[in-house]
Amino acid sequence: MKIIRVLLQKEFLQIFRNKSMLPILFVMPVVQLLVLSFAATYELKEVDVALIDNDQSALSREVMSRFQATGYFNLELETFHYAEAMMAMDQGEVSLILEIPSGFQTRVREGRVADLQLVIDAVDGSTAGLIQSYSTSILKDLNAEQMRKIQMESYSPQVQKVKSIQVIPQNWYNPDLDYITFMVPGILVVLVSMIGLFLSGMNIVREQEIGTIEQLNVTPIRKYQFMIGKLLPFWVIGMIDLLIGLILARYGFNIPFLGSLITVLIVAGIFLITIQSLGLLISTITHTQQQAMFIAWFLMVIFILMGGLFTPIESMPMWAQNLTYINPVAYFIKIMRMVLLKGAGWPEIQFMVYGITAMGSALLLISINKYKKTVA
């Protein structure tokens, strides 16, 4: 016990003496949450539109003003030539071409099918999808209103039928589809993963690189004592960073905390050990900090991109979805969202926690085993 205390004391002394790293450790959660939550948004802003209004009617003007009224669309170009609009899109000046054919108003008034063309710049697929769904919903609203008008004017029973099915979507757990609510729990996971994966593994490689490990290895320090001395300090720092992040999330971003905070902390504790064990494993197969950093980054990027932080796991191809079963980051992101936003408890998350625990135990065992060999 005394040796572990001495080792911990030494580690903390070194961490707190490292003037360049220490501030980053505690500023990191704040900066990451602020930057990622505000900047990495899926909300549509300022889509430039080219309008080809061949109808020049009250209704066609109404269509455009509806688009503008949302605040997401900005009328950049008005023309009668499709080629000119297309050129503007080629040059990246507009992302949407709205073409209204002549006779549009007449057809609508007569209750006939009226066409309208939307041409969307789909270089960025997700933005294109957003433009499409925003536009569709604007046009749907307009359509419904027009129907009601025609109906009132004509009392046509045909049109009444059309009106009878109405879909009213309700978004559960995140009623306003607030992007920040969705992102913040995931970003907290990335934060904890970075500290766990990079710092503890790097620390051991550093001792190898500087040569201090040779002096340590001839002392009576036992392997488990050395491991605890290396893992615990960054486990504590990771947990503190998570707490800072959670406080920010709750009071800065007003993220609902529906589930139990204790559950989140317990899972975070297990997750940190898992990811630290991976860092440890990396440290046993590398000899320099550069090598270790490179491998850690490689894994980290895969974990994040395939972890469901930005794109839903369900929309990945099957092989990629299967890979997420061995991605601890994916489990923890899901657990965080479920517990914080849905109020999930132990029954809902238990299998994922078992998964993380199993991975953690395996990684820890392998790395302890590996570590022995490099010393001997």
């Binding site: 201090t212 002096q215 009576p220 001997a376």
Partner: protein, 309 residues
């Protein structure tokens, strides 16, 4: 446990992939001895130390340290060893005092309880005890490393090239400290590439390319050198070397300091004949004198013989 032998090495070999670092090495170190391992860079000195300090496992043969086997009983050995690696291996971001306290605690002791032993070394460092060890000078670092290796009062001290890269004054001080530690009854194994330090050991092992060439007291090692030795000096050393090597009957030609050490294959060289020959070769200020062989002469001789075999 044998009372007089602290380290016993039997037919130990160690390879790293293709490289045979040690070949069939055997020797024993007695209690209270100051034992020197002398050899050029790459001779296998560090591998030998890592085998003795339990960090490496031999491919063949056995090592016993303080009566314990280095493979199966390393846990008993480690608390009794003080090891100073060739490369400075203390925490550069900890202060002098923190390093010392850390290593004391790791060995389950305290700085205070063994202060007397390290006092002669450590008192020079005390004015800098709050300085980060990375900011110390080379000689100071080495004193701190020795203090840390001694803080748990080890029975055996292993020093791997402790004086490499250290100035002459600090080297002398360091060897004075080793003599003092010997008085305390600590057995010491020290390696060095400097031949002049060999004379300060009780016994030396000359090691070359993983094999031990000879083990004896420094005096006996030197006495093994039986050929008459001449020291030759001239104004142009490079030409002198070339001329000596091409002289019929010349055996070994090695520059040592200001003189070139010279022997002949058979019997005694005649200084007069040599002088005439060298002057004929156009060398000026030729001086020739009879010299007492030093340990490096014997070492070169042994190395030469080993290579011929």
């Amino acid at each position: 446990m044998k009372s007089t032998i602290v380290v016993e090495i039997n037919n130990v070999s160690k390879s790293f992939r293709q490289l045979k670092a040690l070949k069939q090495v055997s020797f024993a170190v007695e209690e209270g001895e100051l034992f020197g391992v002398i050899g050029p860079d790459g001779a296998g000195k560090t591998t030998l130390f890592r085998l003795i300090n339990t960090l490496l496992i031999p491919d063949e043969g056995t090592l016993s340290v303080l009566g314990y086997d280095t493979v199966n009983e390393y846990k008993q050995i480690r608390p009794l060893l003080g090891y100073m690696p060739g490369k400075f291996s203390l925490y550069q971001d900890l202060t002098v005092e923190e390093n010392l306290q850390f290593f004391a605690s790791v060995f389950g002791t305290s700085v205070a309880s063994n202060y007397e032993l390290i006092k002669p070394i450590y008192h020079q460092l005390e004015p800098f005890k709050n300085r980060l060890s990375g900011a110390l000078s080379g000689g100071m670092k080495q004193k701190l490393a020795l203090s840390c290796a001694l803080i748990h009062k080890p029975k055996l001290l292993l020093l791997d090239e402790p004086t490499t890269g250290v100035d002459a004054v600090s080297r002398k001080e360091f060897w004075d400290m080793l003599k003092m530690l010997k008085q305390e009854g600590i057995s010491i194994i020290v390696s060095t590439p400097y031949m002049d330090e060999a004379n300060l050991c009780d016994r030396v092992a000359l090691i070359q390319k993983g094999s031990i060439l000879q083990i004896d007291t420094p005096t006996s090692v030197v006495n093994g050198f039986t050929k008459p030795l001449l020291g030759v000096k001239a104004s142009n050393t490079y030409q002198l070397l070339k001329a000596l090597k091409s002289f019929p009957g010349s055996d070994s030609v090695h520059p040592f300091g200001e003189y070139v050490h010279y022997t002949e294959k058979d019997g005694e060289p005649d200084p007069k004949v040599l002088q005439d020959y060298l002057e004929q070769q156009g060398l000026q200020n030729v001086q020739i004198k009879l010299m007492d062989p030093a340990i490096e002469d014997r070492f070169m001789d042994l190395m030469h013989t080993a290579e011929e075999v």
